[in-house]
């Protein structure tokens, strides 16, 4: 199950966030900051799946923007990875010049 869907830029500013489970509003910023820190510290040739607390993060970098999805164990990580790309393509098609 997807827990949350985030788009965060390199400076840590959240551009989009959608939580599918209730998370307190002040905890959200903390979560986002931690998540982006983990993603930033990875190099390019490292695996896109990180284990974080009790769920997994699947992240993908597009220029200066990170799309991070938090999933639990029942989900196919690679399918989610594809989903992220699909989402970005849809945005691209719809809004042109993403």
């Amino acid at each position: 199950m997807i827990k949350f869907f985030l788009m965060v830029n390199k400076q840590g500013q959240t551009r989009l966030s959608r939580y599918y489970e209730h998370v307190e509003i002040n905890k959200r910023t903390m979560l986002e900051a931690e998540v982006i820190k983990k993603c930033l510290s990875r190099s390019k040739d490292q695996c896109s799946f990180i284990e974080y607390k009790d769920f997994k993060l699947v992240y993908r970098q597009y220029a200066a923007l990170f799309v991070v999805v938090g999933i639990n164990e029942t989900e196919n990580e690679m399918a989610v990875y594809e989903l992220i790309h699909n989402f970005v393509e849809v945005l691209d098609k719809y809004f042109s010049r993403v």
């Binding site: 959240t14 490292q46 990180i50 690679m78």
Partner: protein, 820 residues
């Protein structure tokens, strides 16, 4: 009042803020404007204001005052208002707020609206944040929409149904009839959401699962999947050359649930799984995602072995792939399957071991876990080499787990004692500070057990701490060994390795430096001091130096060291005659199979729940019936019978008891008061390890008693008390036969009241020769923590003069000294 700014302007403004404080200021200003605008009940711009509010909420600022406004927007007739209103409801409202119930009526009306987009909005919102009350009220409407022919609505209704089922599981049956036709759709959106709905139903209720299996859901799914694979290029659903991979993955997951533990379903899907596995293109990530799901499905259902081998080969291929994601995924799946398909996974062992050297942290962890799962008797040497190398170079967060894993594996599969000791030493030198606390006692026990390796071990340990004595576990083990086997060290006899020339002074030098060093923990210092003391009997020319060292620590600030030093001093001064006996070599420690708390007693085949995990000996079955006899005859619920233990348990029990008394091998044991003059108490040093002074028979002799004397059979009890554990009494029984014929198959059984614990060791034989020419001896250990009067019921069975004899008796004449 000027028109409120648009959302885009707001975003642009916020982006120009350079610091967090500036941003906060801008947002507060805008919030104030929005609030005043809400107060004025401005209809035209409400939608714009709420949109801005939602954006600010997403950035993390509180926006609860917008909730009612969302409701007003939902109630409006304009589509743009409704759109923002529902979005706001989804983001700001949930069942925690009481306001949400006000939405129910609006949603109900909108579900029946003429425009499909409005209906869609309502469905979305209900499916996103509907509470159980709302769901109950509106489930009927959702179900109606599930049956409509409009695919746009159908797919949304399906997802809404998923949410309803999650909130109110009882309503699941309501949606069942609608599901019949769901899979007949052409529209992929509907197909996808229907599969999700079916998956949710099957996961939640085994009845549903059985129903779907019966209703031939599997063939339908297989058909759809086949169409997806076989159909040509379809621009609508294409992702990198594969047609709708998301739907494929979903279907595979549903097939997994249907096929789990069900032979028929599994058989029906074998073909399609093989087809997917072989036909999917693996050059892009998409194909690999589908293959991954397929592999997971094959592993989970009752597939035929050919298919399983295919799956593992796919995983093997994944491992060789350059893409990190794929390797990670492969390692994870292999970890899941290694229990069931061990041999197949072994084939890929070398690749897995290579992954240990990968840069990526997630991959390394997975590879480490998998490597431990793959170690077996054949490959242990090679694997250990790799794992030790890994231990050297890995991150600190792995070291503890890796060290424990290596210990476990070495214990299970060590090909030789020397190899085992070498491996453990290697771990201690590389990751010494990360090992678990019980590694030290385990290693010491291992060393004592390998008698022939003592010289080699002590030499290696000595060399190891010569250079560096900062790793505490290593130093502790080394000090202990040097203390025990120091004489072997200086005599320079070692067959396995080149013997080194060490003098007694050099050995003392190193132990003293450990004592003095700042890096040594208090525990380590204790080890070192005791080691120095032990060397006083093993070394010949440096006794004075040892005496000096020991007396220095008599005034140490550390209470532990001080106590030891004072007692050792006393040993030098007043009890010098006892010193050699006390400090003699420790006997081999018996291996205890369990790690749990050990108790002195083993009651086999009986109902005692709290007892050890050691397995009852196979004879447990037969004696159980005898025990029942004993119980029946004895009656009374306060007696617990004890069956004589099989011979194999003797060493284990001895070890159990010894280890119990041993405590934590710091050789501190229970604090012994300053050596009392009247009883020569053996100091804690030994902790009762050597068998002689354990049970002090020089202490006031306890009179022996005749417990039974009938029909020519006489049984005498002699007693000993343990000095280290005053609640233990050891009774040795001697059975003699004064008749003219032998007594054969003699079995002695005993029962004691519940507050006692009894342990019966194996008898010397089962034949008592006639004419008192020989006796059977057997040892009974009684634990009497409450110091109650000892009572015992005994049952004797034997064959005499060709007939089986049996007798019961009660023994009450125990002398007070045996239990007080």
């Amino acid at each position: 009042m000027p028109a409120p700014i648009r959302l885009r302007e707001l975003i642009r403004t916020i982006r120009t803020a350079r610091t967090q404080a500036e941003e906060r200021e801008m947002i507060q200003k805008e919030c104030a404007a929005i609030r005043s605008s809400f107060r004025e009940e401005d209809n035209t711009y409400r939608c714009r204001n709420v949109a801005k509010l939602l954006y600010m909420h997403m950035l993390g600022y509180p926006a609860h005052f917008g909730q009612l406004e969302c409701l007003k927007l939902i109630a409006s007739q304009k589509f743009t208002d409704k759109r923002i209103g529902y979005l706001g409801a989804m983001l700001l409202l949930d069942e925690r707020q009481d306001v949400h119930l006000l939405m129910t009526n609006c949603i109900k009306n909108d579900l029946n609206h003429s425009t499909q987009y409005v209906q869609g909005l309502a469905l979305c919102t209900l499916g996103c944040m509907g509470s159980s009350e709302m769901c109950r009220d509106l489930a009927g409407e959702v179900e109606k929409l599930l049956k409509t022919s409009n695919s746009y609505l159908r797919k949304k209704a399906a997802l809404c149904a998923v949410h309803v089922i999650r909130k109110v599981p009882e309503l699941m049956e309501m949606f069942l009839p609608a599901t019949k036709n769901l899979l007949n759709e052409k529209n992929h959106g509907v197909l996808h959401t229907s599969v999700v709905l079916l998956t949710e139903m099957c996961e939640r209720s085994p009845d549903m699962l059985a129903h779907f299996r019966k209703v031939n859901l599997v063939p339908q799914l297989v058909r759809i999947l086949k169409n997806l694979i076989m159909s040509g290029y379809s621009p609508e659903h294409d992702v990198s050359g594969i047609s709708d991979p998301f739907l494929q993955v979903r279907i595979l997951r549903l097939l997994r649930i249907l096929g789990r533990n069900d032979d028929d379903s599994s058989e029906a899907m074998n073909d399609i799984l093989a087809q997917v596995a072989t036909n999917t293109e693996t050059s892009k990530n998409v194909g690999n995602a589908i293959l991954y799901e397929t592999v997971l499905t094959i592993m989970d259902i009752k597939s035929e072995s050919g298919l399983r081998v295919l799956a593992i080969n796919i995983l093997g291929r994944f491992l060789l792939n350059n893409d990190k994601n794929i390797r990670y995924v492969a390692l994870t799946s292999l970890l899941k399957t290694v229990q069931t398909d061990h041999n197949a996974v072994q084939r890929h062992r070398s690749t897995i071991v290579d992954c240990l050297k990968d840069l990526d942290v997630s991959i390394k962890r997975r590879a480490m876990e998998l490597s431990f799962a793959l170690v077996n008797g054949n490959n242990v040497r090679g694997m250990m080499k790799e794992l030790l190398y890994f231990l050297d170079s890995c991150e600190p967060e792995f070291k503890a787990d890796c060290a424990s894993g290596i210990f476990l594996a070495a214990e299970k599969y060590a090909p030789s004692k020397r190899w085992h000791i070498d491996t453990i030493m290697r771990v201690l030198t590389t990751a010494g500070s990360y090992v678990r606390d019980d590694a030290v006692p385990n290693l010491i026990q291992l060393i004592t057990n390998s008698v022939e390796m003592h010289a080699y071990t002590v030499q290696r340990l000595y060399k190891a701490i010569l250079g560096d004595y900062s790793q505490q576990p290593l130093v502790q083990v080394a000090s202990w060994c040097i203390g025990e086997y120091g004489d072997l060290l200086v005599s320079g006899q070692c067959e396995e390795e080149e013997p080194i020339q060490v003098t007694e002074d050099e050995v003392l030098d190193i132990l003293e430096s450990v004592l003095i060093s700042n890096m040594s923990a208090s525990v380590t210092r204790g080890y070192a001091l005791t080691a120095i003391m032990k060397l006083s009997t093993r070394f010949t020319c440096t006794v004075n130096r040892i005496k000096k060292v020991v007396s220095i620590y008599g005034s140490s600030i550390d209470v532990e060291l001080q106590q030891r030093a004072v007692e050792y001093n006393a040993l030098f001064k007043k009890y010098d005659h006892m010193r050699p006996a006390l400090l003699e070599r420790m006997p081999v420690m018996e291996k205890v199979t369990t790690n749990g708390p050990t108790e002195i007693v083993q009651t086999n085949g009986e109902t005692e729940p709290a007892v050890l995990e050691t397995k009852p000996p196979p004879s447990g079955l037969q004696p159980a019936s005898q025990a029942n006899d004993l119980l029946d005859l004895l009656g009374g619920s306060d007696i617990t019978p004890v069956i004589p233990t099989a011979p194999t348990s003797k060493p284990a029990s001895a070890g159990g008891e010894l280890l119990d008394l041993l405590g934590d091998l710091n050789l501190t044991g229970s604090p012994v008061p300053a050596p009392a003059p009247q009883t020569a108490q053996p100091p804690f040093l030994l902790d009762g390890l050597s068998s002689q002074p354990l049970f002090n028979d020089t202490a006031a002799g306890i009179p022996s008693i005749t417990a039974y004397n009938k029909n020519g059979l006489k049984i005498d009890f002699t007693f000993e008390r343990s000095n280290t554990n005053p609640s233990v009494t050891v009774i040795t029984i001697q059975a003699s036969n004064s008749t003219e014929l032998d007594m054969t198959d003699f079995v002695f059984q005993a029962a004691v009241p519940k507050t006692f614990q009894l342990q019966l060791l194996s008898p010397s034989s089962s034949v008592i020769p006639a004419f008192n020419s020989g006796t059977i001896t057997q040892v009974i250990k009684v634990l009497n923590p409450q110091k109650q009067q000892l009572r015992m019921r005994i049952k004797l069975t034997y064959n005499h003069k060709g007939s089986a004899m049996q007798d019961l008796a009660e023994v009450n004449n125990f002398p007070p000294q045996s239990w007080q």
